[in-house]
């Protein structure tokens, strides 16, 4: 492999890193005169470039190549594209949302770009140390972003809580890594996978390592019982950052968990799928039941995203290489659908927050009269979250359920199905407020151009993935093939 090849393989990461530095420098040079608009523009251009580079690699049929402990394979490219798109949407929406709310907008956009870089590194890591570094890199950018409103106590609380949980979770994960290293003398995922057997004492050690590692991954994915930070952090963080944490950052947790477990612990597959299955039940049930009582939309969506994490992890819990529905495919399809759906829902929350300063359910009363477009988009996103066909969310649920049923985990399937009805209850409650409850306020809601564009992209993707799912499924099955072939 010559230097040029390596440059090309790492082009998404290089573009992201360069963009981050340019954004900070330009913002400094401009002396913060235009409220971050230039910085945002450069960030978006850079993300666009990185997305093109990622897709070029993805569609060039790149097979697994390792460069500096990073795997450039369809699996990592899929998650890179996901991260770049969601950060792009978040930045697009932030241009108007963050204006006047902070003096340091250049750094804000740069940190978001670096967060995308961190995810790109984490999802490609083929080495336990790189896994740890990637996740910590992502955490550090997220801590700062969550507490970005320095005058706002809630935002401070969000950042501090996130930091304290994250620091502990990171340390626990590191302990898990050290167990695997102790047992095999290697930090390379594939080598660990080859050397780590499931015999006798080593199996117990392996189970301990799985649980310890899950503290790190589950923290990112906000899976119960590693979810406690989520409601407060989601509520206090600037809403665009909440959107980011609940999508791209969450997806990174699942991506890393998937690769590490499949590649490094293939001999313990029965154990970690069982553990993930129980976490799925806990997450779905707890998330949905607590969400029922929420009236603050950001908290409601936080619990909803904990419940969604439960559905998503079903894909890994039902891993079934060689089956019609291998599980990982379901995980990826679900995450793709969920990304646009959940960001979309948070975009509407941002629009309302900007208009009324409130994130309470009451602020959504009668929205259909004041802002029909917003109300219709929100309905679309909520129905997709509820998994109603023919929207994107339905296909996510379908593929995940299919994997669960194929593995004959019928209790799990039944619990998930019943949970979907509970979730429909609180999603529908928001629809009810928007359509059927009269509001005292009659002022029409105006939505900034960037936010509208992000909304339109998300909404159209939710429809397209639902109605024309086929190309996405084909792409995803290819991405999955690679990691399954290399790992299991």
């Amino acid at each position: 492999m010559n230097a040029l090849d390596i440059l090309q393989l790492l082009s998404p990461e290089l573009i992201l890193a360069l963009t981050g530095f340019v954004v900070v420098s330009v913002d400094l040079a401009m002396r913060r005169r235009d409220e971050g608009r230039t910085a945002a523009t450069i960030a978006l251009l850079g993300l666009g470039g990185a997305l093109v580079a990622t897709l070029l690699l993805a569609f060039a049929g790149t097979s697994t190549v390792e460069a500096f402990t990073l795997a450039i394979d369809p699996y990592s490219l899929f998650f890179k594209a996901l991260a770049i798109v969601s950060v792009g949407l978040v930045i697009l929406a932030s241009i108007s949302f963050m204006r006047g709310k902070s003096r340091y907008l250049g750094e804000y956009y740069a940190l978001l770009v670096f967060a995308a870089l961190a995810i790109s590194l984490a999802v490609s890591a083929t080495n336990l140390v790189m896994v740890y570094l990637g996740i910590e890199f992502l955490s550090i950018t997220s801590y700062i972003l969550a507490s970005y409103f320095r005058q706002d106590l809630r935002s401070q609380e969000a950042g501090v809580k996130y930091f304290l949980y994250g620091a502990v979770a990171g340390a626990v994960m590191l302990y898990g890594i050290s167990l695997l290293y102790g047992a095999t003398g290697s930090v390379d995922l594939a080598t660990v996978g080859a050397l780590f057997s499931a015999e006798g004492d080593q199996r117990l050690l392996g189970i301990a390592a799985i649980i310890l590692l899950l503290a790190g991954f589950g923290f990112k994915a906000s899976l119960v019982p590693f979810h406690q930070w989520a409601p407060d952090t989601y509520e206090g963080a600037p809403t665009p950052i909440t959107a980011f944490l609940s999508t791209a950052s969450k997806a990174a947790g699942f991506a890393v968990a998937g690769r590490v477990f499949m590649v490094a612990l293939p001999n313990l597959v029965a154990d970690w799928t069982a553990i993930l299955g129980s976490l799925a039940i806990l997450s779905m049930t707890l998330g949905n039941l607590v969400a029922l009582k929420q009236t603050n939309l950001k908290r409601l969506l936080a619990y909803s995203s904990i419940a969604q994490a439960g559905y998503i992890v079903l894909g890994l819990a039902a891993l079934n290489p060689g089956g019609d529905f291998d599980g990982v495919g379901g995980l990826l399809i679900y995450l793709l659908a969920y990304l646009f759906t959940n960001i979309g829902a948070f975009l509407v929350v941002m629009a309302i927050e900007q208009h009324s300063g409130s994130v309470d359910l009451a602020a959504y009363n009668g929205l259909i009269k004041r802002a029909p477009a917003l109300a219709l988009w929100m309905t679309l996103f909520l129905l997709s979250l509820a998994g109603i066909p023919p929207l994107a969310g339905f296909f996510g649920k379908f593929f995940v359920f299919a994997a669960v049923v194929e593995r004959n985990l019928l209790t799990l399937a039944a619990i998930a199905a019943v949970n979907a009805v509970v979730a429909a209850f609180y999603y529908l409650n928001i629809v009810r407020a928007m359509f059927f409850v009269e509001s005292e306020e009659q002022k029409p809601v105006s939505v900034a151009a960037g936010l509208s564009a992000a909304l339109a992209i998300s909404g159209i993707m939710v429809l397209v993935i639902g109605i024309a799912a086929q190309p996405f499924i084909t792409w995803i099955s290819r991405s999955v093939e690679m990691v399954l072939v290399s790992g299991m």
Binding site: D324, I388, V405, A413, F436
Partner: protein, 491 residues
């Protein structure tokens, strides 16, 4: 145009969707109404094209198959047989009727209203036409959304409560259906109905499959004790919504039993048939007795639906040629006559904004045309010989009698009760002195309203006098079903 290769079913299915999108081309309410009417009339005309070339052999006609996702046996597969044919025609017939009925009395958000009506129609047609279980499930779940908004936005009184209850209740019913559909797939490698019914599923799967599907369908029908969503939804829905709910949506449940539960899970059917019969009879008696004490005439009609659907399910539970054919025909009959009843209640409500029986009386003198038509509709619903209801109920009772005379006896009791509560409605509305001053200036039906009811009344007579026209298409399909399922059940 060559009708053998032309995708007629797709045309019928997607025409309302295209029409719904076309509504956005117009700004004024009148153009929107005209477009909706033209589209639903065209759709009805298109569905009539199914009839001339129909070969009554009980098989699936006009099949269309399109592969969907590579590697997955999930297809866009449509087809229609003697069981679904009349339900499709019922759906497309009620389309223009409810559009015409809503012509004047829907004045708010006209475009949204007709948009929802049209996509609701497409969703219901999709349920009747799908031969792929995933496709069926997609349409089945989708039909919840437009109806939720129709009830919630244009309904009366506790409309939001009724809409939410309708949505959650029916969604809960079908939650596990997807899991079972997937189980069927992993046992047989197919989502295709034609493959699945030949597959011979194992006993345990049949048992759980039947229970899960039956729960979804029993809630939709609704069978006692899963009926509690119905009075709320029917009473609070706008008239057009009630007509569609009673006319078509409930039939999706009956259709589900006939199309999926019986042929796919015959062994389980044998176990559960007595239960279905029992619940059907309880439904007949409970619905009738509750209808008897209603003060609101719309509630009365709503409870009468529970009783009538009890009859239909009694036919299903009989599992013989008469019972099943009667169930299919009576489903259509109920759609026509209860649809007409809801329309007529709506017409009186539009004038007086009340539906309480106590507010009325003596309308014979003030509204002779209305009263005459109301009598005909009631007679059709009661089952007067010569009209459609008689044919359906009689055939069902005949089928039930051959299985268990007690079933038939209890069913007959329901017929008597039906006459009682419906004639009570007639007495309350039409007879007696015209003593309420508010009723003394009521206008009789105008031409549009008569036009809305005319096709329904014509069909009452057509089905009542020439039932063979309908049975000769239903019976072969029923015979085919019995040929497969009958031996397992011992009928």
């Amino acid at each position: 145009m060559d009708l053998t290769t032309f995708p007629l079913l797709s045309l019928i299915l997607w025409l309302p969707v295209l029409g719904a999108l076309a509504l956005f081309l117009f700004a004024d309410a009148r153009s929107i109404r005209v477009t909706a009417l033209v589209v639903t009339l065209l759709d009805f005309a298109a569905s009539l094209l199914l009839l001339p070339r129909w070969t009554p052999d009980g098989s699936m006609h006009y099949q269309e198959v399109l592969a969907w996702a590579a590697g997955l046996d999930f297809r866009y597969h449509l087809g229609v047989d003697g069981i679904s044919l009349w339900l499709v025609l019922l759906t497309t017939l009620l389309g223009p009727i409810v559009v015409l009925f809503s012509w004047r009395n829907v004045t708010e958000n006209v475009r949204s209203f007709f948009f929802l009506l049209l996509i609701q129609q497409a969703g219901m047609l999709g349920v009747f036409l799908s031969l792929d279980l995933i496709l069926f499930f997609i349409f089945w779940e989708f039909t919840l959304i437009p109806m939720y908004f129709l009830i919630g936005q244009w309904g009366s009184g506790r409309r939001v409560y009724a809409a939410t209850k309708f949505f959650l209740y029916t969604m809960a019913g079908s939650a596990l259906m997807l899991v079972v559909i997937l189980l069927l797939y992993f046992q047989t490698g197919s989502f295709n109905w034609l493959t699945l019914k030949e597959a011979g599923l194992d006993r345990t799967l049949q048992f759980w499959g039947f229970l899960t599907f039956a729960l979804a369908f029993a809630i939709k029908v609704p069978m006692f004790p899963f009926h509690t969503w119905l009075p709320d939804a029917h009473v609070e829905a706008p008239t057009a919504g009630s007509v569609i709910l009673a006319g078509v949506l409930l039939k999706m449940g009956v259709y589900g039993f006939l199309r999926f539960c019986l042929p796919l899970f015959p062994q389980a059917t044998a176990i559960f048939l007595p239960w279905i019969a029992g619940l059907a009879i309880v439904g007949i008696l409970y619905g009738s007795l509750t209808a008897l004490v209603q003060k609101d005439v719309k509630s009365l009609v709503a409870y009468s639906s529970i009783a009538h659907l009890g009859f239909v399910m009694l036919g299903v539970a009989s599992m013989n040629e008469q019972g099943l054919s009667g169930a299919v025909l009576q489903s259509v009959n109920h759609g026509l006559s209860t649809g007409a009843l809801f329309l007529m209640v709506g017409m009186i409500y539009d004038r007086r904004h009340t539906r309480l029986l106590a507010e009325f009386g003596g309308l014979w003198r003030q509204m002779p045309v209305y009263s005459a038509l109301f009598m005909v509709v009631v007679m059709a619903s009661v089952g007067l010989p010569g009209l459609n209801g008689f044919v359906g109920e009689f055939t069902i009772l005949l089928g039930a009698f051959r299985v268990n005379p007690l079933w038939a006896a209890l069913g007959t009791l329901g017929v008597i009760l039906a006459a009682w509560y419906l004639l009570a409605a007639v007495r309350g509305l039409l007879h007696g002195p015209l003593d309420n001053p508010a009723n003394q200036h009521l206008a009789d039906l105008d031409r549009r309203e008569v036009l809305v009811l005319a096709p329904l009344v014509l069909l009452f007579f057509l089905i009542g006098l020439f039932p063979a026209l309908f049975f000769d298409k239903i019976t072969p399909a029923v015979e085919l079903l019995l040929r497969d399922v009958g031996p397992v059940i011992g009928r």
